[in-house]
Amino acid sequence: MYKLSAIELRDQFFRGDVKAVDIIDYYLKRINALDKDVGAFLNLFHDQALKQAEALDKKKASGARLGKLAGIPIALKDNILVKDEIATCGSKFLTNFRSPYNASIVEMVLEEDGIIIGKTNMDEFAMGSSTENSALQKTRNPWNLKWVPGGSSGGSGAAVAARFAPIALGSDTGGSVRLPAAFCGVVGYKPTYGRVSRYGLVAYGSSMDQIGILATNTADVALMMEVIGRHCPKDSTSLHEECQDFLTHFKDSIKGMKLGVPWKFLEDLTDEPKSNFLNSIEILKMLGAEIVEIDLGILKYSVAVYNILASAEASSNLARFDGIRYGQRSERAKTLDEIYDFSKEEGFGPEVKRRIMLGTYVLSAGNRDAYYKKGQKVRTLISRAYKEAFSKCDLIAMPVSPFAAFEIGAVKGRLQIYMEDIYTIGVNLAGLPAVSIPNGLTKDGKPLGLQLIGPQKHDRNLLVAANVIEKGHTFKRAIPTLADKQFSP
């Protein structure tokens, strides 16, 4: 069963080949048997998921209309809120926080009969690129348990790679869906900013945050987009657009499509990531795409701009975690100021504190013009550069990351970690849709990803092309050895 895609699994359920209860029971057992080593999940909705599956079987028996996601087990990053369930965001601060409401996308998934089986590990408040910043547990890459799964949606990436769920949702502020997808050898999709509701996603950098989808293939991503890619009246930045049909628009060819490649910007790419990328370019040519050169040199500033703007927004967004209404309150605190100081000191990890301090610094009266406002100006220039590029091409192709997964604990320099996002961050600054598709392994067996980027709102064209390009690659839907087996319950 674990080899099935989400759509195949659902269709088996539709046909009556398998009961929803059996699907959920199977996946829960699989996770219980195999996740001890991987550490993808923070929390399993064991009873709740089975209860929902039973209800769904009854619904099917009654002949009622079944939703698009009927019977599909779905994992959620732990910064997406489910009513009455704990949402830690990978932080000690929220280990006791139960959400009083559902995120809008949770409502949409439930309406279409999707079954949420649990919450996955992440870098604390989505700040990081390896999931090593989770304050709660380590998540290991299913391809090799010594490696990181990427981040910040590392738990969701590992969960899909290990086939603990055919679809997982994550969030992408600077590459946090695409990077773990690449490191774990699965598909990762970051929609146009505003395409998917942020209501009930715990905010990190609000102007860049976007919920994204991790799955084993692009068709499953498209299915999920048909469910969650819709306007939400509770999110003021939500696009006022009709929900799109994706799957019926899938086609066989990208003949004549113009693909832009910023060759100059990719000059520093070395070794295997480079040969891997060039190999994909050859495949794209064979599929009939025309490769054109574009200039995205300005992206060299994107990491700096991102760190200023995301930190600024984070420092304000995280101010609410003060120990007054929810979350941890320091037991040492005797005064109001001590509640603030000690609760944050005890509840937040070093990376979160660092970004709050940086964000406060760049917003302070004496520094705002030099950092925050200048950062906004460069952000505008970056958006303009993409627009200019899209006047010459339909989509842009780039690697996801300058390197593949590394060993847990191996990268010590923060700058190196930040540079991991150099190819993904520009997309968030400009609010574009982008997808990471697995395009091969390094000699030592580390997955790599090809990134395709579209103009704003061109989510459908992008996924349609990604589906063709995915088929053109021999490396697809590969399962890590560790997970490529049944399990003995």
């Binding site: 910064n79 997406i80 809120l81 949402a87 965001c89 929220l94 926080f97 959400s99 009083p100 409401y101 995120a103 942020r198 209501y199 009930g200 996603l201 715990v202 905010a203 950098g205 609000s206 102007s207 009246p233 509770k234 999110d235 003021s236 930045t237 600024a312 927004e313 420092s315 304000s316 101010a319 609410r320 975690f321 003060d322 007054i324 209404r325 929810y326 109001l336 603030y340 406060t360 917003l363 302070s364 009266a365 705002r368 925050y372």
Partner: protein
């Protein structure tokens, strides 16, 4: 110099709760006097993941007031976050309008001893109210019913020169608000509160001297009393060669006294930046014209 050579310079900020059905950024009821924490949603309590959505009724009421005082209604305005830590501020920032308010300028015409006098308004901004702190013997409670109620803050120029003028100005503003039915204007319930900035200077001099701020006054008689005594105190201080230290007081309505909140030479740093969860407010000329045409008659303003 003698006492008579000095003139008071007063600027007023009037905080007005709008009588909308729901709050400025949430669907919770805007209603006074209910049991604590009943008119709240996850937006009002600053829960993680909750997002603000602007109430159009509040925008309309702010624009109505702007039109009534012949102000410029901005076709583009935006909301900013003002950061400060307080338990009654659920996100630890207030959503307000920092540098691009919805209404700019405007004139209030008041009647003083039978004569009409004009006062210049600097700006009118839309912002959210905070919750209420309730003090108990061994702990404090917070009621978030008021958190998120829409306010307009009407900021005058420092163009008021006596307690009498200040009272006349506020009365004129209040009568416009009541005429428009945009607020209950109940000073007892706190739906109309006044912040006063007071300084004095030698007559004929343009520069402003150090000011004293008094926040949250809720009655005309106290306002008059506070202005008179503060002006008196400052003039005497200068006559005695003493300094007036810039400071802020809060009006304690129960004890009927000024409580010192802080003395500072520089303004607080509120880390202002545009709220990324909200989109700019874009108004069309047709929208503004429609509101202008539907305004009621005002006893004084129509002549303005």
């Amino acid at each position: 110099m003698t006492y008579a050579d000095w003139e008071p310079v007063i600027g007023l900020e009037i905080h007005v709760e709008l009588n909308t059905k729901s709050k400025l950024f949430s669907t919770a009821l805007n209603h006074f006097g209910d049991a604590p924490n009943t008119n709240i949603t996850e937006v009002c309590t600053g829960y993680p993941g909750a997002l603000p959505v602007l109430n159009k009724e509040a925008v309309r009421k702010a624009v109505q007031f702007g039109c009534a005082i012949q102000a410029e209604v901005a076709k583009f305005s935006k909301f900013d976050r003002k950061s400060y830590f307080s338990p009654n501020s659920p996100c630890n920032f207030q959503i307000t309008q920092h540098d691009q308010p919805i209404v700019k300028g405007g004139t209030i015409i008041a009647e003083i001893e039978g004569k009409e006098q004009s006062f210049a308004v600097n700006r009118v901004q839309l912002e959210e109210d905070a919750g209420t702190l309730i003090h108990f013997p061994t702990y404090d409670g917070i009621d978030y019913n008021r958190a998120g109620i829409p306010l307009i803050k009407i900021v005058s120029e420092p163009c008021i020169h006596s307690a009498q003028e200040a009272v006349a100005y506020v009365m004129a503003v209040k009568s416009i608000l009541q005429c428009l039915d945009v607020s209950d204007c109940s000073m007892e319930e706190g739906s109309l509160l006044i912040d006063i900035n007071i300084s004095v200077r030698p007559k004929g001099v343009k520069e402003l001297r150090n000011k004293i701020g008094i926040k949250k006054l809720n009655s005309f008689s106290f306002m008059e009393l506070v202005i008179k005594s503060e002006v008196n105190r400052q003039i005497h201080a200068y006559l005695d060669n003493e300094k007036v230290v810039q400071s802020i007081y809060r009006w304690d309505a129960d004890k009927k006294e000024m409580v010192l909140m802080g003395r500072k030479a520089t303004a607080d740093d509120y880390l202002y930046f545009p709220d990324p969860d909200l989109v700019p407010v874009i108004l069309t000329q047709a929208y503004i014209d429609e509101i202008k045409q539907s305004l009621p008659e005002f006893p004084l303003q129509r002549k303005g």
